[in-house]
Symmetry: C2
Subunit: 805 residues, 2 copies
């Protein structure tokens, strides 16, 4: 399969003699040799478990019994890698390599080994014969390494198993790294995903003066698993038009003959780097910030390039059949074995490796040195570069609470002032950004805009609010892009904070899965340094989406993250502003976690002064003595609550019950750190059974008002002695556009229903119980009539304050 | 804010006298009157709870106490609606309206009311004064209707609360509806989302001969909640280039002066419809299928168009400040009240409504009639059009199973043959499609391609496999687009089947949330007819992603859907091919559910012949007597299993234990329908306590091998008597690239660990227990050594068959 070779971008750039001889012969030979070595090692990893240098004829027992790997994308990835190495050396570039088609794992492992990094990180995979044997054997082998690019792969911040996030990761890495160039291969399959499609827009948020550069390389490999790729089959002028529309100047490099392709790609790469340099110089030296057109490359090569053309009579090279293992059964089929051997020998291994199995000097000479090697770039092991944030004292932002439950405050607005000063304190270090999908102000974090504008590299108009290049508030209406940027930013050693409507955090469910998996594996690799935690603030939450209605009401993101490894996940439900401050301070100091903080933005009662808040958050769970009436320590009933609205409703119920039943012994337990509920054997934050019993008793009824789906509380507590007595109220998927209090009523987590729950479970209340129960029911009905007539909550409900002082 | 008015597409299309006077004066007046009425009613809905015709001066008590709604997008939506009505009448079009900015709910409700549909569906909201009063009051009011477009809104299939899916829904509606034109407004905020960005590619899958048309209208409203929209601020030539790159011919209509805008939009709309007609004629009459360029419109109007320009000294019209409620407090602020009144009166309500409150005749004349009204289009209440599938007898595809656990089959490959014939049986009705993100063949449903090709309207090359316009297998590497298409297809009264790698179903977590919410509300509306269920096949599942590694291993989608209303969700884990056939037949006949079927694609043991499979699936859960040894009905231990791999491991454990402990009384319970585990009070499929006890006993140990995260089994069973004795094995987030059996070992759900679990929980086994336990442990260690040396599972593990006959 040979295609026309051409490069096209605009009319001023055409193929000519200069391109055809862009590289000197020694440069070309070095490139070609390095590429052949990387390809040889890739095929070797997929197939071999012995005889890695083909010193003897290939025999069935040299072949792995299970062939697990992806060849199709690999030679394109190694081709680009080889070329990046040339320009890194020539220009002394600080460069990272993010590849979307992460299933091309063998190519990246081969590259890291050729560069020597692999052996430095894993000494038993040395640059000698034994190391080479181990290199090929370990790949996709039990006890070895995964088939994809993974945390185990030096130089990577991106697994690429789930497709769609390469470009947003690359931009996240480039932010605030002005000297970094992130080369990012986007697969043509990946390019069909939604997250990738919108992430092209990232240039609108990248400041050429203070951020680094991303060089996208769209790899038109032609085929996915079984289908052609859309971008490879639409007319070329449509493709180029689309990419120009996204703000790039695309250069097409297309072909299959190695030698002309080397010249062409090298010339194109040089041109792109010159243009990147020119854009940056304009912005940095001349202080001009017009919207730049960033260069990018469209690389069209045959899938499975340099692999077998035809196998069993079917086209393989240049076809979807090369996606995984092109020759399926060399262990049992002698023809396949011969074909594989001739494929491997086509790379001439004896010219690539010396007698010890180490790469020959000409290949070594093609490598950059030290941390200029992309496999050893410290940005790709970001924890190495991580500097702790300078944090203002969160106590300075405290809401003054003289007595509990009387004044109101907007918790997230208070937090905004703290975050504003975190931004200011770290303005010079440029290592902290906040992210939100057009919701920063809606989530009432407005104050952050006093410290920094929103990043924006496009037109502005009069009346726009805080938009400028270099802003540190990242707002695009794409949860995927926010998450991808933030992950890239964290993985390269910086800090961030993501605020999101609670319901729409589900949009990134699958991305948080992948990040959790990355963290889990990284934590077990001693050479990967800890990175800052991924911090979510879920606000505009289920109980305060009364105005947007049912589509905006879903508290299930908590359930989703709790499925991840306990060592990674923390969930906090601070009931008021001071506890929120304390929790966020803690999260910003933490490492390697996924912290989920749920807190409302509406004016709500405040309960704890700052000292009490710190104590409460440190314990994560505790009895609120001031609200409890079991001074003898022997409660009739425990009222537990987690979340700001459930806490308010619980306290309002307690307030009422105190008046109705002065001798009822109630204990109020508030939960900030949800994982405290779990067993200490299941979660590092879990309480011991004894501690749990001391809070929840072994035998008294517990009415638990919980922010989210009730099942989670049962799931966390099912092993506890008193589990059979825990009655949970939470969100049961009822809601619409209505009043805030009516949202509680619809889900029976309101004060009236909670009080009735208590009455129903404390038999000793006597005859007054039935009477009060009936009164509470009547008030519920009265409420419903009131809101459907007046369109707002009854004042006595809306303006409730804690009355027992 | 006035902008230049122009329309640009290509050089042959320029503004001229023909455009400036495109509409006759009566046409223009009718349009303008209808638009004013729709806008008046929209403002009325947001603000008023009385005095809907302004017969008396506006007073504070006419204003709702809580103002919940979105004005900003609404006038653009009503503008388009008014224009669509003109062309529907003139051309007798079958047209639907899908709007991405669903928060423009009041506009759509107003339109449905003006068309009379609203009063037909909701007789108490009649076209009279009382009805009008109710119309304005009910909006965003407790006991009323939601603030967004919702199932309650006649004519809608799309809520738009969570943004991103309008275009994929529109294309889903257009597939196989050759006479339908779906006008789809894409908000410029929504356009930033990933799912929307990639859904532009849908034209590559739309057959102009046999499908209908989608007319996208990208609404450059300029601002989101607090930020400008990216597409509204990048240079116009970039935007147009991007859209051309996506395969469209975009026409720009930009301006703020109503009269010229009416002429311009009308001319553009006529041109677009002419082009659509021409494309379809070429394909249908001439039989030509070149890749068409479909027309689309870019509509640039001020946000909050026709609303107040300045409020409290700040720009509102044409700014993000008009996003929700432009005048914030007319109830308490007299200036605001006066401003609101003058805004409302600017539409001249007395010219819009007659003395009874009904729309005047000239407005009525602008409406299409009957089901040509977009609010009454039956496609938007697809259940009305739903025809049951003609289903072949699934028994005909049975795998012949003479004895359990001996032969192997690939369950999904067998299913593929059944689905092939479902496609064939309904080829003429054209009401069934299968969807997969480039995974149809990987999921071994290859046989479906014998019945129909994959849909594909782009270049093909030699060697391509089954690609053609009109194909009924929908493959794009975007789970979002597959899901969006399928939802649109189902909501318009057709059937579908979505196969997906299990781990990556999480990509559509949030979409399935929204679909579940839509179904829940629709089910409570008597006028919405039931639609076909949303059927997922999750395959390439966690236990068989040993080759792709950790990133591909996640069984949590089940947990996610189980959070939805019990009435909507069904989860099936058929253990073999015949049970899979039975389950899928059932799912394809069902209505209004979300069915999640989990089944593997690899060769696995088969247990049940077809008769037994049907019985087992009908019960959903049952004792497998042939595998049990508690013939006296008094087991020492219950071994429960759900999922194909857990079932195999459980039976292998039983096999071994039978040999080791001939007198051990084991009961094997297999679960197909996961919801049978839940309480009958919680789920319609739930077992009674008595039935549960009869299977699981009240006091014997239960070892439960479950496909997914163990916590779900505890969550479903925590109320059962025997819950304290249920010990669950499942996926605990351990995995990498390894062998299939090693995946089980890593998560301790393998036969050895299960057998050890039994031994540890049945004290009466005596001295042999310790010995056997040690032997099992040794075999585990031996296994680990074997796989890390040989790279494959031990033959005795890999080739296990059920031995007890």
């Amino acid at each position: 399969m040979t295609r026309d070779i051409s490069t096209t971008a605009d009319t001023t750039w055409t193929t000519g003699p200069a391109v055809a001889e862009h590289l000197s012969r020694p440069e070309l030979d070095g490139l070609q040799l390095w590429w052949r070595a990387a390809n040889y090692l890739s095929v070797g990893q997929i197939y071999l478990m012995d005889n890695p240098l083909l010193r003897e004829p290939l025999r069935p027992e040299h072949i792995k019994p299970r062939l697990l790997g992806h060849w199709g994308t690999t030679p394109g990835l190694t081709f680009v890698y080889a070329h990046l190495n040339r320009v890194i050396r020539e220009r002394d570039l600080d460069m990272m390599y993010v590849i979307g088609p992460g299933h091309g794992g063998p190519g990246l492992v081969a590259a890291a080994w050729l560069e020597g990094t692999y052996s430095e990180v894993y000494p038993d995979v040395a640059q000698d014969y034994a190391g080479l044997r181990r290199l090929v054997t370990q790949f996709s082998f039990p006890g070895g390494i995964p088939s994809h690019v993974a945390p185990e792969t030096p130089g990577s911040i991106h697994e690429g198993g789930e497709l769609g996030y390469s470009l947003s990761h690359a931009f996240g890495a480039a932010f605030d790294n002005p000297d970094l160039v992130v080369a990012c291969v986007v697969g043509d399959g990946e390019a069909e995903t939604g997250p990738l499609a919108t992430s092209w827009h990232s240039t609108t948020f990248l400041d050429p003066a203070t951020d680094g550069a991303v060089l996208p390389i769209l790899h038109l490999n032609g085929y996915k698993i079984a289908n052609p790729a859309v971008l490879a089959r639409i007319p070329e002028n449509e493709l180029m038009s689309m990419l120009r529309g996204y703000g790039y100047e695309p250069y097409l490099v297309s072909g299959a003959e190695p030698e002309p392709m080397h010249h062409l790609f090298a010339a194109t790469l040089d041109r792109c780097l010159d243009e990147i340099h020119a854009v940056q110089r304009r912005a940095r030296r001349d202080g001009l910030a017009p919207r730049p057109r960033w260069p990018m490359i469209v690389l069209r090569t045959p899938k499975g390039w340099t692999g077998p053309t035809v196998v069993d009579g079917l086209q393989v090279e240049g076809s979807w059949r090369s996606h995984q293992v092109p020759i399926s059964d060399p262990r049992h089929n002698p023809e396949h074995l011969a074909l594989l051997e001739s494929w491997l020998r086509s790379y001439e291994p004896s010219a690539l490796f010396d007698g010890n199995g180490a790469p020959v000097q000409r290949i070594r000479d093609h490598n950059p040195t030290g941390t200029r090697r992309m496999s050893d770039n410290p940005h790709a092991n970001g924890g190495l570069l991580l500097r702790a944030l300078r944090l203002p004292d969160f106590r300075d932002y405290a809401v003054s609470v003289d007595e509990p439950g009387v004044i109101t405050a907007e918790a997230t607005r208070v937090l905004g002032e703290y975050l504003r000063d975190v931004l200011r304190s770290n303005a010079e270090a440029r290592n902290f950004r906040v992210f939100a999908p057009d919701e920063n102000n809606s989530n009432r974090l407005n104050a952050v805009l006093e410290a920094t504008p929103r990043a924006w590299v496009a037109d502005t108009e009069p009346g726009d609010d805080a938009l400028a290049p270099g802003g540190r508030v990242m707002e695009i209406l794409s949860e995927h892009t926010c998450q991808g940027w933030l992950e890239g930013y964290l993985l390269t050693g910086r800090h961030g904070f993501f605020s999101c409507y609670e319901a729409f955090a589900h949009i990134v469910d699958s991305m948080v899965n992948q990040h959790a998996k990355w963290l889990k594996v990284s934590n077990r690799l001693s050479w990967r340094a800890p990175i800052a935690s991924l911090n979510y603030l879920l606000t505009s939450h289920v109980w305060r989406q009364d105005h947007n209605g049912f589509s905006h009401q879903d508290p299930g993101f908590i359930d989703h993250v709790v499925n991840k490894k306990a060592e990674l996940v923390r969930v906090y439900l601070p009931p008021d502003a001071n506890t929120l401050l304390s929790v966020v301070d803690h999260c910003l100091r933490s490492r390697d976690y996924i912290n989920v903080v749920v807190a409302g933005k509406q004016p709500e009662p405040q309960y704890l002064d700052m000292d009490a808040a710190v104590v409460h958050c440190t314990k994560g769970i505790g009895i609120w003595d001031w609200a409890s009436t079991d001074q003898d320590g022997d409660p009739d009933v425990v009222l537990a609550c987690a979340g700001d609205v459930p806490t308010m409703e619980t306290l309002a119920a307690v307030d009422r019950l105190r008046q109705e039943f002065p001798d009822l012994r109630m204990r109020v337990v508030n939960v900030v750190d949800l994982m405290r509920l779990q067993d200490e054997r299941e979660h590092p934050h879990g309480l011991s059974d004894a501690d749990f019993d001391s809070l929840f008793t072994r035998d008294r009824p517990v009415i638990f008002a919980y922010h989210g789906y009730p099942s989670l509380i049962h799931r966390l507590t099912y092993r506890r002695h008193n589990h059979g007595n825990i009655h949970v109220r939470g969100y049961k998927e009822e809601g619409t556009t209505t009043t805030p209090f009516d949202m509680c009523v619809l889900n029976q987590i309101d004060r009236f229903n909670l009080a009735i729950d208590v009455i129903d479970r404390v038999p000793r209340l006597g005859p007054r119980a039935a009477y009060t129960r009936e009164a509470l029911r009547s008030e519920l009905i009265e409420h419903r009539e009131y809101v459907t007539t007046h369109g707002e909550d009854m004042p006595q409900v809306r303006d409730w304050v804690w009355s027992a002082r």
